[in-house]
């Protein structure tokens, strides 16, 4: 039988880490763009539109990501749309992250005192200028901690994509364990790798928050 060296284990886990990082980036960027758009629509849209977006947010917050992955992956092919695991996971993580991020950011915008909007509009600033120059700079600071907190959740949640065929870090650990019979060592290493991804994020958020104290 083939013997797994320490290097084999490390190499395979690191290769799998690319998927964890890649999927996380897709979720941040896709979710951030869609989520940002949703916030603006929630601020400016009609009542019906706002209700629809709220329904969207509640739907994605109220169902497990695992099920969303199943539904998108198998659901799309049921409608005759050919999907790869990557497409399905990208769609799912983007929608999932956008729902949470739009909720977090809406909360931060709403935490800004109404007087700030009133002062800005009394100075004849347009809605866009009020948002861009007065509200968002202040909301940004309030949003950092919850946003990064959610990002950390997403990094860990990418493990769920293993159910539709991704060999990311958790799944890779499982496979290696099946071959080496060293569960504690392997899973311990995987856990440390997650920590190595998430901790710098939290650290950076604290530094950014400090920098934006003004």
């Amino acid at each position: 039988m083939y013997e797994f060296t320490l290097w084999d284990i490390a190499r395979n886990l690191l290769l799998a880490a690319r998927w964890t990082v890649g999927l996380s980036l897709i979720a941040f960027i896709g979710g951030g763009l869609v989520g940002g758009g949703l916030v603006v629509l929630r601020l400016t849209g009609t009542r019906t539109l706002r209700r629809l977006i709220m329904l969207y947010v509640q739907l994605f917050q109220g169902t497990p990501l695992l099920l969303q992955l199943f539904l998108v992956y198998f659901g799309l092919s049921m409608f005759g749309i050919e999907t790869t695991a990557l497409v399905a996971a990208s769609i799912c993580l983007t929608l999932y992250a956008s729902a949470y991020l739009s909720e977090i950011w809406r909360g931060s915008v709403e935490s800004i005192d109404r007087g700030q909007w009133e002062a800005a509009s009394s100075l004849a600033l347009s809605f866009g200028e009020q948002l861009r120059h007065v509200i968002l700079p202040q909301a940004l600071r309030a949003a950092i901690a919850p946003t990064v907190g959610f990002m950390v959740q997403v990094v860990k949640a990418t493990a769920l994509t293993s159910v539709i065929g991704f060999v990311e870090m958790t799944r890779a650990g499982q496979i290696i364990t099946n071959a080496t019979f060293q569960p504690f060592f392997i899973y311990g290493s995987v856990a440390l790798m997650y920590f190595a991804l998430c901790f710098p994020l939290s650290l950076y958020s604290r530094r950014l928050e400090h920098k934006l104290r003004r």
């Binding site: 007087g115 009133e118 009394s122 004849a124 600033l125």
Partner: protein
Amino acid sequence: MTPSPHNDIPAAFALVDIRGLRKRFGDNEVLKGVDLQIARKEVVCIIGKSGSGKSTLLRCLNGLEPLQEGSVSVDGQPIRPDNRQALRELRQNVGMIFQGFNLFPHLTAGQNVMLAPRLVQKTSGADAERHARKLLARVGLAERFDYYPDQLSGGQQQRVAIARSLAMNPQVLLCDEITSALDPELVGEVLQVVEGLAAEGMTLIMVTHEMAFARRVSDRVIFMHQGQVHESGPPQALFDNPQTIELRRFLSLDH
């Protein structure tokens, strides 16, 4: 309502012309038909109990509150809340100062003053800064250009807010209880700045609880009661010889 000669400014001379103004919040009618004409360079103080509609009236004058019935026009231009461009032009003419200062906390005093001229009037950076320094000097805060709002006292913050609204060269300044959030010892410095503006000929409409100030500085005092102009006239007449029982009661309460 007591007739007063000041109430009959011909519309052509009125800078602010309010006619039949009504405003409801749900079932609660806050303004029940207000008629008021304010002339250029006039200083008008609005007094009255809380809930009498003073602040709402003020907020209708720059479109912060949409009105339901009646009309408001400033410098001959009627306010149309549905027209954003018209509203922006109106707000360049009508400055507002708030009870809670509402300075932008992420910007320095200077940046607070420069923001609107740079964005709305597209003033160049150097011009905006020169103008801002002049305005801050005018409110006695030349040295505080680079200070953030949380490094300033309440009185200083309110003076920055005054400079900020003056930066747009408004024709009218609305002051909504601008000293009510201040410690008593800081009220004087703010009122002094406002008095200076009045002396320079700025049109001022102030909601205030400072009766001594209203008596000293205003050309006309408006007493509002239950959403209407209940009594109005020159300060001496109003304070020394109130005609209605409601105003007498109001004046004897705590002032």
